[in-house]
């Protein structure tokens, strides 16, 4: 039943997308067969084999504390990796070696259903705003020729595991997770964009711990995920995507909200970024705990601005990837 519900959700999403494209005058896709991406998958897998040994080292330092963040036990002796210090430093591989186009983008409206996320001071929940922004972003991307999928289409509970599985199953080229932050210090305002990586910032650790709740992963799953991450290239791509999106967010949103603070691009071990197989970021776009940010986010025009800002960032990243010698950042 869950599989049927998932398939139906995806089909509704596809129908809506196709109709939106028709409304915007886009021609029908002549052949909408799933793309043949074996070569690409093979390349990434090969890279994974090359750089995986560095992962445990990086991931171990990345693990935040909390339910989903228990320390990864060491593997059995036969399979145990040598101490991290004995590994050669991973060789840098330029993403420019893979000038592959961005076509399919998976948008992940954070929270939903029984997990409302942070409350806003204006009677809204984070889950409502993330979904609204994702739905505003979708037609912008579709008009620009991207194929867009959402991890959830309505107010429903979708675990982090399901979100990541969906993105991986759909073979998305990019994964963009949309969130809004909240702090006890209500005066704080800012935009933060995260990519996968270790952190020693206690604030970021706490945030990752909160966002990683209800992940749906077991510890064994988590260990396997960590072992499967090809850290270097995907991290680098994710960082460049984060920088492009962050630039889009800060330059666009500051115009209508000059008091907003640029809190920077940061690495963080969000599970949803660990488990997805494509470059991904998690944007904490504003602080719902701040009265002014919350008031702005209640306005549809501002939420449209947020969607536009995300769009500008994604487009800049995709265009840079398309340019010969482009490094992914705009």
């Amino acid at each position: 039943m869950a599989e049927l519900a998932r398939v139906k959700r995806q089909l509704v999403s596809d129908v809506v997308r196709e109709n939106v494209e028709t409304l915007h005058g886009l021609p029908p896709r002549p052949l909408r067969r799933p793309r043949q991406r074996r070569l690409r998958g093979g390349l990434w897998r090969a890279l994974g084999v090359v750089v995986a040994p560095s992962l445990l080292f990086v991931a171990a330092s990345a693990l935040p504390t909390g339910r989903a963040e228990r320390p990864v036990p060491s593997r059995p002796a036969a399979a145990a990796p040598a101490p991290a210090t004995s590994f050669p430093a991973p060789q840098a591989i330029s993403p420019a070696a893979f000038p592959l186009e961005v076509r399919k983008i998976v948008l992940d409206p954070g929270h939903g259903g029984s997990d409302p996320g942070a409350p806003a001071t204006v009677g809204l929940w984070e889950k409502e705003i993330t979904l609204d922004v994702a739905q505003r972003l979708r037609p912008l991307l579709a008009q620009a020729g991207f194929e867009v999928l959402l991890t959830r289409e309505r107010d429903e509970t979708v675990s982090l595991r399901e979100r990541a599985q969906f993105a991986n199953f759909q073979r998305g080229d990019l994964f963009v997770s949309i969130h809004f932050n909240a702090l006890p210090t209500r005066s704080y305002r800012g935009i933060e964009t995260y990519h996968l990586g270790p952190t020693s910032d206690p604030h970021v650790e706490r945030l990752a711990g909160a966002e990683n709740r209800e992940s749906g992963y077991s510890l064994a799953d988590f260990r396997r995920l960590l072992e499967g991450v090809y850290v270097h290239v995907r991290q680098q791509e994710s960082r460049q995507l984060a920088e492009a999106i962050h630039r889009g967010l800060t330059t666009t949103l500051v115009r209508g909200n000059p008091a907003v603070r640029d809190s920077g691009v940061k690495p963080a071990p969000f599970l949803v970024l660990v488990a997805t197989e494509m470059p991904g970021i998690l944007a904490e776009i504003s602080y719902l705990s701040n009265e002014e940010d919350a008031r702005l986010l209640k306005e549809p025009t501002y939420r449209q601005e947020v969607a536009r800002a995300l769009f500008e960032g994604i487009r800049a990243y995709a265009e840079a990837r398309r340019r010969p010698g482009g490094k992914g950042s705009a």
Partner: protein
Amino acid sequence: MTKKSEPLRVGIDLGTSRSSVSASSGARHVVDSYVGWPVDTVARKVIKKSILFGREALDHRSMLDLHRPLERGLIKEGSEKDEAAVRELLRHLISLVGPEDGQKVFAVVGVPAEALRVSRQHLRNAVKGIADSLMIVSEPFAVAYGMDALLHTMIIDIGAGTTDFCVMNGRYPTEDEQRTLLHAGDWVDDQLATYIRTRQPEAQFSVHMVREWKERWSFVGEPKGPVMVTVQVGGKPTSLDITNEMRRACEGLLAPIGEAMFDLLARVEPEYHERVRNNVILAGGGSQVPGLAEALERTLGEVGSGKVRAVEDPVFAGSNGSLALALDAAESDWEQLPG
């Protein structure tokens, strides 16, 4: 939100021959896909209506500019009257399920796959303004969705203008997973009329009569009894046995449908072949032709085995599927799709 202010969700099967509508209120209706306007002021005075639909339009056809707007599964490009007919037919179908004053209408319209493939922009423009929010889908997809037949299933929707094929693999079907044939109900009518005229050149009958004969007595294989019709020959009503002509016309569908089935099966991943072969669903008016499902099963026997079944409710299978989609779409989905 009060119940009254909730949008009325509507599923429509816009067919070449018949169109049906199913609504979230539970109402459902079917109408022959005919739209007619009185040809002059006299006709308007006699009919006392500015536009007629369905059977009523057919019955008054001599006084009407009569349109069957989705002939061969397409709206004729550049035919303003056909576009207007599609629009009016949809408005009529929605009015039949009775939205309350001021109640929003969210509609999913299933159309022949060929119409969607060839002229989706044209179709979208033609149906503009008939609902507050509107989606268009292909008919076989709507049938599959309504039956939850979304995995390893082949839908064969035998309509009047086209026979649409669609293989469902758990995702929105690609064009590679769909086929459209013009071998459908109207084609059978043409064949039947030709065979009868060949045998009895003086026989006088109309296309509407042939359509009615087919709908009452079509069959594949062995008939339940002789098919006897009355035609005018030299001005005299004459009884004619058209059993062989009927069989020949209906069985003419088998070869092209079989060929398209095998063509689509050849594109199915080998591990799923058997599951698709055993999950063939016939929809549309043609699905009710006695003996057709069994004959197609025998055809599938050439490559092993197969199971072919007809939908239980061919009249409403499409509109019920469209309604299921309309109910599953979130309000935010509808907001992106103004009618």
